[in-house]
Symmetry: C2
Subunit: 417 residues, 2 copies
């Protein structure tokens, strides 16, 4: 494995070098289209060129490098992840997939592997959506699902997305030309840190993603009756917070009983006119439910809603249940996942299948192409945080597995879609 | 009862007239020492003078009217409540006690009742404490427990309490001279709206207060681990909000089981860095516990703390439990309460005993004098709100009961203290 370790070191060096490019000193922040983002992207383009790829920046701002097959009519296999970050980010979320992907292509070239498909490495420009509060700008453009109306969106400084595209040399009217046509996709592969604790807890370096979870976001408003904390007896109260507390506990219990098919989170809770000596009259909270199985998600939403209604009825509390957002799951390709499982076994690891609770660029791509994702263990599952950490040996493991995967892919005959 | 109704109408007219004096149009706001407060106080002084009382404004700003006994060495019986208000207040909280008290004294004069004690009617200047965030300024001065350091406190505009006292013609150095010496108090009587729903729910116009509850205020900090709402499985979470929710529910259950000896309220709850897709890592909340019985309060505090610790231990959450404030109960005088119960029976009502969960001017006075309070039913227990409402017939009931009370008091021989 020493060869893989050496390659992992080079990947890590590049990750560190990219992490040094930030909007702010002392932390890692490279949001879409900023000067730091462009500087970071130029570095990645430089590395792509050094590897011998034909590079171009597309209109939305992705940097793309192609390695052509001997067969000019071949389909394209995309290896990708993103190089934008959240504010005060870790260094692996995104860049690991781009730079391990680049290493993978360098190995194809080095090993003179004859590839029956074009390979395109893409560093997506906006997965996190921090600047314009809209995710997947880069991958949506490549998947051909970019909604032009998004270009009217404005950042905190009032600059529109369209203006940023223009400033950086792109043309909003040409965005659709950057899409890879559905018939030209062979597949999509993304290496990404897990951003969760499962691999870490199970002491396994990599895992295969079976699906990216479907998600439901709901806003709940509990309306009871505010009252004096000293004068209203316990049995005469309509305490909106106690009601919300019962809802939170019952939701937790419901999700735990769901046996890993479901996660449910109340992340925001706000009391209207809070005071230590006032019984809360109104409470607003969020509910985030995710599942790999769309049917389980839908039936769980209904069941949790009914539960909330019953709790409120019992307590004389009025409930408003508002659906904010519902997304479908992205199912990873079974054929490619078989190759990945085989590649993991060949590398000497236990194959573990995971559902991604977080969204990834594979979500919009899954509408036009088979997708596969390899998750890499990160320290305690911590992400979106400077404490994000991936061990060198785990990067080496990901490289070893991905090498095997490419070797299998070269021989792979995908089912006719 | 038609005489009492007529008197109640006059009381209500004065309450309405006082309510028309406000810092802001369209609502009732008369906080301590403001121009509206002075204007309202002048009205009350005028009414006191019309009744034939010797009036004076003391240094803190109370208006006081005396009706002297034939016996110059007699002790003083104080009838009082407050005329300051919260912001956007109701019109009865405070003024009812002052103006029904004035009617009571007018009746003593009218009926030529020979009183073996001086009667002093006091309209306290600051019970709510809205301007300087410190309650009972007026009654503390009369009880001789005013802490001179309070005069350095500043309001939102940066004006100190000392400056307000001076502006309004008082002298901070003479505050102690306004106190009624402990040996000169015969007793203290306050008529006040219940500010709670008990009388309303039981359909009874008035009630006798047995005690003003002891109170404990605690700040709790639950520290778990923030995490991605999509990627951390339910059984690996350290959700600070779910933990707080369990604590809230268990506290509610504990207080309900306490069978009316206890109220417990979580009125504030704040998630640190809340986001709908982030598992709450830290939650800060308040806990307000009250009981008429100091021992029950103390043992309940300990029991609830232990409960919180157990919940946190089970969930791997760190708990910080900080005592913010603890006050003793004010116990109403058993002798005077007997007279009040008798007076209620004579008036044809069922005598009901209540604990006041809210604080009143009787609290500081109870340290130097026997105190008694008569609660009057208010609509649904609503208070500190423009919806605060007292029916005319309930004011009449309070007047009838208080008349009886004074008649009994005239014949009353209090136990030697």
């Amino acid at each position: 494995m020493s060869d893989h370790l050496t390659r992992a070191e080079k990947v890590l060096q590049r990750i560190n070098e990219l992490a040094s490019v930030s909007e702010d000193d002392g932390c890692i922040t490279r949001t879409y289209g900023t000067r730091a983002f462009i500087e970071g992207r130029n570095k990645v383009e430089q590395w792509m060129k050094q590897a011998g790829l034909q590079t171009r920046t597309d209109n939305i701002g992705n940097i793309r490098g192609r390695l052509l097959s001997g067969n000019a009519d071949a389909k394209t296999f995309v290896i990708a992840s993103h190089i934008d970050t959240v504010i005060n980010a870790g260094k692996f979320d995104g860049p690991l997939g781009v730079l391990a992907g680049l290493d993978l292509i360098e190995q194809i070239i080095r090993s003179k592997t004859e590839i029956p498909f074009h390979v395109e490495l893409i560093a997506f420009c906006d997965e996190e959506g921090c600047r314009f509060h809209t995710t997947y700008l880069g991958s949506k453009a490549v998947a051909g699902s970019f909604d032009k109306q998004l270009s009217d969106k404005r950042d905190a400084a009032g600059i529109s997305l369209g203006e940023v595209i223009k400033q950086n040399g792109g043309d909003v009217n040409n965005l659709s030309k950057d899409a890879i046509a559905k018939e030209d996709w062979l597949g999509y592969f993304e290496i990404h840190i897990e951003q969760g604790p499962v691999l870490y807890e199970r002491n396994i370096p990599v895992g295969v993603v079976t699906a990216i979870a479907a998600q439901c976001r709901i806003e709940l408003i509990f309306t009871g009756e505010a009252g004096h904390a000293g004068t209203v007896p316990m049995d005469m109260r309509k305490d909106a917070l106690a009601c919300a507390a019962e809802f939170i506990l019952e939701t937790e219990k419901f999700a735990i009983t769901g046996k890993k098919k479901l996660v449910a989170t109340i992340g925001k809770l706000h009391i209207i006119n809070p005071a230590s000596n006032v019984i809360p009259g109104q409470v607003i909270c969020s509910l985030d439910i995710r599942s790999e199985d769309e049917n389980i998600l839908s039936s769980s939403c209904l069941a949790i809603k009914e539960m909330a209604e019953n709790i409120c009825k019992k307590r004389g509390i009025n409930l408003k249940w508002g659906l904010i957002q519902q997304t479908k799951p992205a199912i990873c390709d079974k054929g490619m996942n078989k190759l990945l499982v085989q590649s993991i076994k060949e590398a000497g690891f236990d194959p573990v299948e995971l559902v991604s609770g977080a969204g990834h660029d594979a979500v919009p791509v899954s509408e036009v192409s088979p997708v596969a994702m390899l998750f890499v263990r990160c320290f305690k599952g911590i992400s979106h945080n400077p404490l994000e950490e991936v061990e060198l040996k785990d990067i080496a493991a990901a490289i070893k597995v991905s090498d095997n995967f490419i070797q299998q892919l070269v021989k792979y005959k995908p089912p006719v879609r």
